[in-house]
Amino acid sequence: MNHPEIWMLAAAGLFGLGLYSLIIARHLLRQLIAIKIMGSAVFLVLVVTAGLVDGSLDGIAQALVLTGIVIAVAAIAFALALVVSLAETTGSISLNPDDDDGR
């Protein structure tokens, strides 16, 4: 890991893109992809800012990210089931901000 700055800039870009898409996207699948990509950005920050220990990447940070990846796939799988079920019962695949139930 010779140039951590580059990776931090990439993480910043991924985080911003994800957040932008999360706000503007209407299709729930797109919003889930956005969350997943933001998650990757956070994982990059976690590993890169932990730095090197004895010449190799910080093992604890790597293990945390591994845990995070598995949790992310579990959460996404549940979210996808929820979205499919929502589409089945209501015929809608987006969260309309004008819906009455939210306010």
Partner: protein, 308 residues
Amino acid sequence: MVIDVFLALGLVVLAWQALIGGSLFRGIVMFIVFGMVLTLAWAWLGSPDLAMAEAAIGAGVTGALIMIAYWRLRRINAVEPRDPSPARSRLALVIAVLATGLVGAIGLAAVSALTGDATAARVMNETLPDTGLGNPITGVLIVFRNLDTLLEVAVVLAAYIAARAALGRESADLPLPPAPDTPLLTPLVVTLAPLTMVVAIYLLKAGSQYPGGAFQASALLAALGVLLVLTGRVGPAAAANWLTRAGLVIGTLVFCLVGLGMLVIGAPLLAIPGIWAVYLIEAAMMISIGLTLVLLFAGAPGLSGKRS
């Protein structure tokens, strides 16, 4: 330097392609490619474990799950959402630029303040040889911080039950794409299935000394399961038999019972008595997570021998 820039830039461009504009289907393909490039990025940064996890779970299983959800949504013919209002887009742009600036600034500040002296990791490197493990990541996951891992397996279990609750009784068999019927597929599956199993078990075994371990192995098994479901070798069943249910919980259960068992013999809670326990727990976790992911993909409570 050039390769760093190339990979980092590639990630951002792919994320842009996956998230903004274009059809959703192309976005999903781009997301899978994003996962592949992230795999290369982890490899280049020097973390084979994360590269494997990203390839198998991040790109492979997540991609397959999103793809099948997309297929199901198209079958349902749900209402396509309208485009966002311009005001909302402008607001989003401002927020996104601020977030990018914030993460960039703190990221740069954090790496410029890097001391290369992470206390926890240093202690870990000193303690690792006592455990007989060669792979520090497996050490952290199964021995040092195994409470995280235990709860993480519980998270996977919770996600499965929650998904079943959301899908309900009447969608016991969600639609799956018709099995493709080609002369090449059968020999390929026949070769691939045992090979994948061997590689999964190898990864599990290697995980104690080299990169690899239960999570990567389970993702590989899950990918195999996805293949079998898609090619019609295995079909969704309306109910889970006791074997399936036992498979779902065995990871959590074995982990908890080993942890509690140690208390009984006077050792600390969740202490790991030896390498055999590491293998036992990892094998159980591999079965549970792999099975859970396949069932989530099939969208069914159980699996049966053959798809009708």
